[in-house]
């Protein structure tokens, strides 16, 4: 398991691995939105939580099809499926690797980008907390979508359509946490709901993803 994690991380870090792709996209969104909306601090502060969450979500979406497609193309997925590792474990580890190279960096740079969007000071802590709790769900749900479309050529569009509706609850609760946090309100309810989604997805979806992979490998 650990071998697979280190291999995936190593592949992501080396040339052409896609590390930084999501991060660059997130950066672009956060830089371009103030230019498009205008420099009014009040407006920016109001939309900042939503923009940051939408940006993180789309950045995550960008690299989803790489989770399984590359391994499928070069035959590694067949070999992993016949290896002693359970396929559910393979899926879980690959989701974790995806989160480590997209979700975690997004979470860490979000406060810096919050400055660009004039996020109220009280919101920074909640921005990090909500992304840290919410982005794992994005990776796990995304891995499920990627497993469904793994054999499909140019499956990216189909993947986006499949996964986006599943991302909506995380987005709503995540942005709500930041919004309430920035306004100084209680954040307990949306935060707990989002944590529930993440835990539920992480517990159940690897099994669904593994089943989808088995069907697709036939």
């Amino acid at each position: 398991m650990l071998r697979l994690l280190t291999r995936d991380l190593r592949l992501a870090m080396r040339a052409g691995g896609g590390f930084g792709l999501g991060l660059a996209f997130f950066l672009l969104v956060a830089v371009l939105v103030p230019l498009g909306v205008g420099p009014e601090g009040v407006v920016l502060a109001k939309i900042a939580p939503g923009i940051l969450w939408v940006g993180a979500l789309l950045a995550c979406l960008l690299s989803l099809d790489r989770i399984f497609a590359l391994d499928f193309e070069d035959g590694s997925l067949d070999l992993l499926a016949t290896s002693p590792m359970p396929l559910e474990g393979v899926v879980a580890v690959k989701s974790l690797a995806h989160w480590l190279v997209t979700g975690l960096p997004l979470t860490l740079v979000a406060p810096v980008l919050g400055v660009l969007l004039n996020l109220p000071v009280a919101g920074y802590g909640w921005l990090v907390v909500s992304l840290a709790l919410g982005t794992p769900a994005l990776s796990v749900i995304g891995a499920f979508g990627a497993a469904l479309v793994v054999g499909v050529k140019r499956g990216g569009l189909l993947l986006s359509l499949l996964v986006l509706p599943l991302y909506v609850p995380t987005l709503i609760f995540g942005a709500e946490v930041v919004k309430r946090g920035a306004a100084g309100l209680a954040v307990g309810t949306p935060l707990l709901l989002m944590a529930g989604i993440t835990l539920g997805a992480a517990a159940l979806l690897p099994f669904a993803s593994a089943a989808a992979l088995r069907v697709n490998l036939r």
Partner: protein, 210 residues
């Protein structure tokens, strides 16, 4: 150590391609699968490897014994030869890749990136993976593709050593490996009757996404 198959029927894309396959392979034995393109050699091997369910029949193999080598080698271009092999050694929980490197004559290429290997060298790396699995049953799908004559002989020697160590091998190939002692199974005789529809396992999923 024994791999035995009886009454096996396999399907591809919802169409039954082979049926009534029966053979028994004991430790130290090899079986060559022959048949024209499309005869179902790959489908049979994938079924035996557990990648797809059998349509009918019984496959009796010891658990966790099968190592499958497909057309694609599963090599990561940005990793070095040693890194590729070490990964699989880690997955299978075996120690040491040196024997595998020596066996397939890859020692000199140890630290090269797989992206810089020739097609034949990549194939040798893919086959070296079999040695690090440490598993007794080898299912080989066209193992000699893009290998030169010397490498084919090298690989035949590796297979022979595997067999003499009590392992067994099922090889789909068009090339004469020089394994005189191996049995030959011609799949032409097991061709499914025309129009035989695959049974309940035919995937609605495949049709939807095919």
């Amino acid at each position: 150590m024994e791999l035995s198959v009886s009454g096996l029927a396999v399907a591809r894309g919802g169409v039954r391609v082979l049926e009534g396959i029966a053979f028994t392979l004991r430790g130290g034995e090899a079986l060559i699968l022959r048949g024209p393109n499309g005869a179902g050699k790959t489908t049979l091997l994938r079924t035996l490897a557990g990648l797809q369910p059998a349509e009918a029949g019984v496959i009796a193999a010891p658990p966790e014994a099968i190592a499958y080598a497909a057309h694609a080698d599963g090599i990561k271009a940005v990793l070095s030869v040693a890194e590729n092999l070490e990964f699989w050694a880690g997955v299978y929980g075996t120690a040491g890749i040196d024997a595998a490197l020596e066996g397939m004559d890859l020692v000199a290429l140890r630290d090269r990136r797989a992206a810089h290997l020739s097609a034949g060298q990549k194939r040798r790396l893919g086959l070296a993976r079999l040695l690090v699995t440490g598993r007794p049953v080898w299912l080989l799908d066209e193992p000699t593709v893009s290998l030169d004559v010397a490498s084919v002989a090298l690989f035949a020697g590796v297979v022979r050593r595997h067999l003499s160590g009590g392992g067994l091998a099922l090889i789909a190939t068009h090339v004469d490996l020089g394994l005189g002692e191996a049995g030959v199974l011609d799949l032409g005789g097991f061709k499914a009757r025309a129009g035989a529809k695959a049974g309940a396992m035919s995937g609605a999923f495949d049709e939807a996404f095919g």
